[in-house]
């Protein structure tokens, strides 16, 4: 019931991989390395997805490509999903300050930082457009991303709020269909580990963190390790205006970038 505000130390176990598994993984990674000359922000090679969601139908089944374990991902790709956009302004954080603009600004900063660290990034929107929740999830699921961050902002509370899906973790067999609106249940355990890495990085950046679970679209439809990251004012006295502060945005983006660099190691060492 109570969410932990204290930044926990990163204690994810460093698992030893067998030489054979490591060699196999390395070999796979080499075969799928990006082509020379292709931008790191380009989409990865298209991976067939059995069903593309139709936004007019809320619950569509998708067939998993892999059995109970998450599919072996061939390269480390991050999907950033700045919430809202277009006519959906999101929260009104102050006079002329809209959530859709704040999250797009932070997404742009984070994308640049990740690219500088050699991490490919796919964004669900990079302008004032409004893709549907199903469109966003389809983009992330096609990318077979190693991490998906759904970005939001609020005037309530302080610091950064991290949410994993409230779905109960579930394993599905090879021949079982996964409900579209509950696809995150297959990756929820990994999402919690990702939240731990992000929590640690934000703690190092002296940013207050709130951890919780929530039911949120399109978070529940992501098949990748996914978090909803909600940016709140830096402290109780600063008000929502601090969200427009470029230094605060850069600080948060830098902490998230560090977290994803750490996640790149942990993700590869997953069992």
């Amino acid at each position: 019931m109570r969410w932990s505000k204290q930044a926990r130390s990163r204690n994810s176990p460093r698992l030893l991989l067998t030489i054979a598994f490591a060699s196999a993984l390395t070999g796979l990674a080499q075969t799928e390395s990006p082509r020379p000359g292709v931008s790191q922000t380009d989409a990865p090679p298209p991976v067939p997805v059995p069903f593309v969601p139709d936004s007019t139908k809320p619950a569509i089944l998708t067939k998993p490509q892999a059995p109970s374990a998450p599919p072996i991902q061939l390269r480390f790709v991050v999907v950033l999903d700045p919430g809202h956009g277009g006519e959906d302004t999101g929260a009104k954080l102050g006079p002329g300050t809209l959530e859709k603009d704040i999250v797009l600004s932070i997404s742009t900063r984070l994308r640049a930082l990740l690219n500088a660290k050699g991490i490919p990034v796919i964004v669900t929107r990079d302008a004032d457009t409004s893709p549907t929740a199903d469109d966003r999830a389809a983009i992330a699921n096609r990318a077979k991303a190693a991490a998906c961050l759904s970005l939001h902002a609020t005037a309530t509370g302080t610091g950064v709020h991290l949410f994993t899906s409230s779905l109960t973790p579930a394993n599905y067999g090879r021949d079982e269909f996964i409900p579209w609106n509950e696809a995150q249940a297959t990756a929820n355990t990994q999402s919690v580990r990702l939240a731990s890495d992000v929590n640690t990085a934000l703690g190092k950046g002296k940013l207050p963190v709130l951890l919780g679970r929530t039911a949120l679209r399109p978070l529940n439809s992501f098949t990748c390790p996914a978090l909803a990251v909600e940016f709140a004012p830096v402290n109780a006295g600063s008000g929502a205006a601090s969200l427009t502060d470029s230094s605060y945005q850069q600080r948060v983006a830098a902490a998230l970038a560090e977290a994803l660099v750490a996640w790149r190691v942990d993700w590869r060492q997953r069992p």
């Binding site: 019931m1 109570r2 619950a59 929260a91 959530e99 709020h161 079982e176």
Partner: protein, 205 residues
């Protein structure tokens, strides 16, 4: 000189008019009596004096994202749906107070609460909470505040009415995607463990 037969005819017509007028007045009185009997508001049952009961409200706190169990004494009606509604009205009234730890707009927030027995269960029910559009419109937008409100409602219902195992939310009697742009209202919230969703029918626990 008026003929005699015309005088007799005129007298009969005047008499008929008087009789019809008396008849209409009588019918009107009877119709009024019938309407009065339908609208009889005299008490049929003796009023039941109810004493205030101790209830547990799970109050949200935006600063640390917590839900704190708080005791209050309120008078509750006898039937479960009305009890649930009064509980929620009391809970949301706490949030409308000055210095609330989770400020929410004042005014009518809960339109109605329905309790429906869960299929295959004798003791568990699902509560359908119909929130007002004005409440949703004035609710702070954000994942944290919206989630806290839903968990506070769900937890308070289950703490005081343990038979409520699941909760669904409507806005003005209609299903809506989100409360104020974020928290998903298309899902069923499980009340026994309010921070965990249950999978939809056909899903895997």
């Amino acid at each position: 000189m008026i003929p005699r037969y015309q005088r007799i005819l005129f007298s009969i017509l005047v008499l008929g008019c008087i009789v019809l007028a008396v008849l209409l007045l009588r019918l009107r009185e009877r119709a009024q009596d019938r309407m009065q009997s339908v609208r009889d508001e005299t008490p049929m049952e003796a009023p039941i004096a109810r004493v205030p009961e101790k209830v547990q409200l799970l109050l949200a706190n935006d600063s640390d994202g917590s839900l704190v169990a708080t005791q209050r004494s309120i008078t509750l009606p006898a039937d479960a749906p009305s009890r649930a509604r009064v509980l929620l009205e009391s809970l949301l009234a706490e949030y409308a107070k000055p210095n609330s730890t989770h400020p929410l707009p004042s005014g009518v927030a809960v339109e109605e609460v329905f309790l429906v027995d869960l299929p295959g269960s004798n003791s568990s029910s699902i509560a359908v909470v119909d929130l007002s559009a004005a409440f949703a419109q004035g609710h702070p937008s954000g994942i944290a505040p919206e989630t806290l409100t839903l968990l506070s409602i769900t937890g308070t219902l289950h703490a005081n009415l343990p038979e409520i195992a699941q909760v669904r939310f409507l806005i003005d009697g209609q299903t809506r995607d989100t409360l104020a742009g974020h928290a998903d209202l298309t899902r069923t919230y499980i009340a026994a463990n309010p921070d965990v969703d249950i999978p939809a029918a056909g899903g895997r626990p």
